[in-house]
C-alpha cells in the first residue's frame, strides 16, 4: 500500500515524526488564541468572584491525587541520578560529590521538570477530557445560561489550583528525589548515611530550592491552562475529546520543557 493511499490515522501512526511535527505546528498556530485565553483566565483568577469550593476541589484532584505519581517518579529519578553521577565521578575520583550534585540536580531541574511532565499527562489531559466532555454535552453552555461564567467557575479554579499545588508537589518531589539518591548511595554504593545527608544539607542553598519552586508555579499554570484551553475548544464526539486530551498533554509537555530552558537561562542571567 502506498503512503498516500493509507488512511490518515495509519499514516500518522506509522510516522511519529510527522505526527509530532503536526502537533507542534498546531500548537504554534494557536499561540495567539492561547495568549488571549491565558490573560482572561489569569484576570479572572486575580479578581472576585472566586469559587472557593471549586478551587479546593481542584487542589485535591490536581495535588493530592498526584502524590503517588510524583513520589514514584522522583524516587526513581533520584536513584538513577545518583548512580550516574557515581559512575561519572569515579572517572575523576570525585565520587564524594554524589550528594551535592544529586541535590542540585533534583532541586533546580529534575524534581520540577519530572513533576511537570508527569502532571502534563495526568492532569492536563484529564482537565481537557473533562472540560471537553462538558463542552460536547452542552454543560458549558448550561453554565453560561445559569449565570456562572465558565472562565470563573471552571478555568480560574483549575489555574489557581495548578499554580498553588505544583510548588507543594515539587517540595515533596525534591525530598523524595534526594532520598532516592541517598538510598542508592547508602545501600548500594557504600556511602555513610550521616555524611551523605550532612553534605546534602550543607550544599543546597535557598536559591536552588527557590529556582525549582518558581519554575513550579509557571509549570502549574501551563498544565491547567493547556487542559482548559484544549477542552474548551473540543469538538463533538469521542474523537474530539480524545484529541483535546492529546493536544493538551503534548502542548503542556513542550511548553514545560521550553519554559524550563527559558527560566533556567533567566536565572543564570540573574545569578541565581
Amino acid at each position: 500500500m502506498s503512503n498516500a493511499s493509507m488512511p490518515e490515522t495509519t499514516r500518522l501512526a506509522t510516522n511519529p515524526v510527522r505526527w509530532l511535527g503536526r502537533a507542534t505546528l498546531a500548537v504554534l498556530q494557536e499561540v495567539g488564541e492561547l495568549a488571549v485565553f491565558f490573560l482572561s483566565v489569569a484576570l479572572a483568577s486575580l479578581t472576585p468572584r472566586w469559587y472557593p469550593g471549586q478551587i479546593l476541589r481542584q487542589m485535591v484532584t490536581i495535588g493530592f491525587y498526584s502524590l503517588p505519581v510524583v513520589g514514584l517518579s522522583a524516587v526513581f529519578i533520584g536513584a538513577a541520578l545518583a548512580l550516574n553521577i557515581y559512575t561519572g565521578g569515579s572517572r575523576y575520583g570525585a565520587e564524594q560529590f554524589v550528594p551535592n550534585i544529586v541535590v542540585l540536580g533534583i532541586t533546580r531541574e529534575l524534581g520540577v521538570t519530572i513533576t511537570g511532565l508527569m502532571l502534563a499527562g495526568r492532569v492536563s489531559a484529564g482537565i481537557a477530557a473533562e472540560i471537553g466532555a462538558m463542552r460536547v454535552t452542552e454543560q458549558i453552555d448550561a453554565l453560561s445560561t445559569l449565570s456562572a461564567r465558565p472562565t470563573r467557575y471552571l478555568y480560574a479554579p483549575r489555574f489557581l489550583a495548578g499554580v498553588i499545588t505544583l510548588p507543594l508537589l515539587v517540595i515533596i518531589a525534591d525530598i523524595i528525589g534526594v532520598m532516592g539518591g541517598w538510598a542508592v548511595s547508602v545501600f548500594g554504593l557504600g556511602f555513610d548515611s550521616t555524611t551523605y545527608l550532612r553534605n546534602t544539607v550543607d550544599f543546597v542553598t535557598t536559591e536552588d530550592i527557590a529556582v525549582g519552586l518558581i519554575k513550579a508555579v509557571v509549570f502549574g499554570g501551563i498544565i491547567a491552562i493547556m487542559g482548559c484551553f484544549h477542552g474548551d475548544r473540543s469538538t463533538a464526539g469521542a474523537t474530539g475529546v480524545g484529541r483535546a486530551a492529546t493536544f493538551a498533554m503534548v502542548g503542556a509537555a513542550i511548553l514545560i520543557l521550553a519554559f524550563n530552558y527559558i527560566l533556567s537561562s533567566l536565572f543564570v542571567e540573574l545569578g541565581l
Binding site: 469559587y51 462538558m134 454535552t137 452542552e138 454543560q139 453552555d141 448550561a142 453554565l143 453560561s144 445560561t145 445559569l146 449565570s147 456562572a148 467557575y153
Partner: protein, 254 residues
C-alpha cells in the same frame, strides 16, 4: 396589543462562508408558547444560542422586554438570563454535582442562597416535575433519560423565569415519556405564566405545546401561524414537514 417579550429582527448568522440564519424575524408575547419547526441543520439551535448570547449574530437585533440584548454581555446579559430558563437537548446536567445541586445551581451560585434554603427550593422544584425527594441526592448519571429531562426542566423553572427555552425537549425519548414531558412543559409554563420558545422536529410535541408555530427553512421563517392552522397552512414546505414526506420541495438531508 402589548409589546412582545422577545423579538428578533432580521437576524443573520454565518459560519465561515455558510449562512445559517438569513434574516430571521420572530417575536413571542408574554405567556405564549412559540414552537419553531425545522429539519436537521436548519439553524434552530443557532437561533436559541443567539438569543441566549452563547453566539453573536452577524447583524440584526434581539430585544428582550424592551432592552436590546443583541450584543449585551456582563451584567446586562446576566439580568436577561436570570429571567429566563433553558432546557437543553441532552439535559446538560453537571455530572460532578448531585441532582439537587444541579437544580439549585443558580440559587447557590448566582443568588447566593444558603444551602438549606436552596435545597428546599430544589426539592420543591423536583416535586413540580413529579420527581420524589429521594432523587435529590443522586448523581445525574444514575438517572434515566426521561428523568434527566425532568431534572433539566426542574432546573429551568426553579428561578421562576418569564421565558423558557426548550431545545428538542422530546428527542431521544419513547413516545409515552415524550408525551409526559410535553404535559409537564404545558403544566409548568402555565403555572409560571411563562412564555416558551421550543425548537423541535417532533410534530406530536409541536401540536401539543404550541400556541403558535413558525417554520424555519434555509435560514428563514417561511411560515408562521396559530398552531391550529398548521394542518391547513397552504404552504408546500410546511405540508411536507407536517406529514413527514420524503418527496416535496424540501430535500431530505442525507
Amino acid at each position: 396589543m402589548s409589546p412582545p417579550l422577545l423579538m428578533l429582527q432580521d437576524v443573520r448568522k454565518s459560519f465561515g462562508a455558510k449562512p445559517v440564519l438569513d434574516g430571521v424575524s420572530l417575536d413571542v408575547a408574554a405567556g405564549k408558547s412559540l414552537v419553531i419547526l425545522g429539519g436537521s441543520g436548519t439553524g434552530k439551535s443557532v437561533t436559541l444560542k443567539l438569543i441566549l448570547g452563547l453566539l453573536r449574530p452577524d447583524s440584526g437585533r434581539i430585544v428582550f422586554d424592551g432592552d436590546d440584548i443583541t450584543f449585551s454581555q456582563g451584567k446586562a446579559r446576566e439580568r436577561m438570563r436570570a429571567r429566563t430558563g433553558m432546557l437543553f437537548q441532552s439535559g446538560a446536567l453537571f455530572d460532578s454535582l448531585t441532582v439537587w445541586e444541579n437544580v439549585a445551581f443558580r440559587l447557590l451560585n448566582s443568588e447566593r442562597l444558603g444551602r438549606k434554603d436552596a435545597r428546599d427550593r430544589a426539592v420543591a422544584s423536583l416535586k413540580q416535575v413529579h420527581l420524589a425527594p429521594d432523587v435529590a441526592d443522586l448523581r445525574p448519571a444514575e438517572l434515566s433519560g426521561g428523568m434527566q429531562k425532568r431534572v433539566g426542566l426542574a432546573r429551568a423553572i426553579v428561578g421562576r423565569p418569564e421565558l423558557i427555552f426548550f431545545d428538542e425537549p422530546t428527542t431521544g425519548l419513547d413516545p409515552i415519556t415524550a408525551d409526559a414531558i410535553n404535559d409537564l412543559i404545558l403544566e409548568q409554563t402555565r403555572a409560571l405564566g411563562a412564555a416558551a420558545i421550543s425548537i423541535t422536529h417532533d410534530m406530536a410535541s409541536a401540536r401539543k405545546i404550541a400556541d403558535e408555530i413558525a417554520m424555519l427553512h434555509a435560514g428563514r421563517i417561511i411560515w408562521r401561524g396559530p398552531a391550529s392552522a398548521i394542518e391547513a397552512s397552504g404552504n408546500d414546505y410546511v405540508d411536507q414537514f407536517v406529514h413527514g414526506r420524503a418527496v416535496g420541495p424540501i430535500q431530505p438531508a442525507l
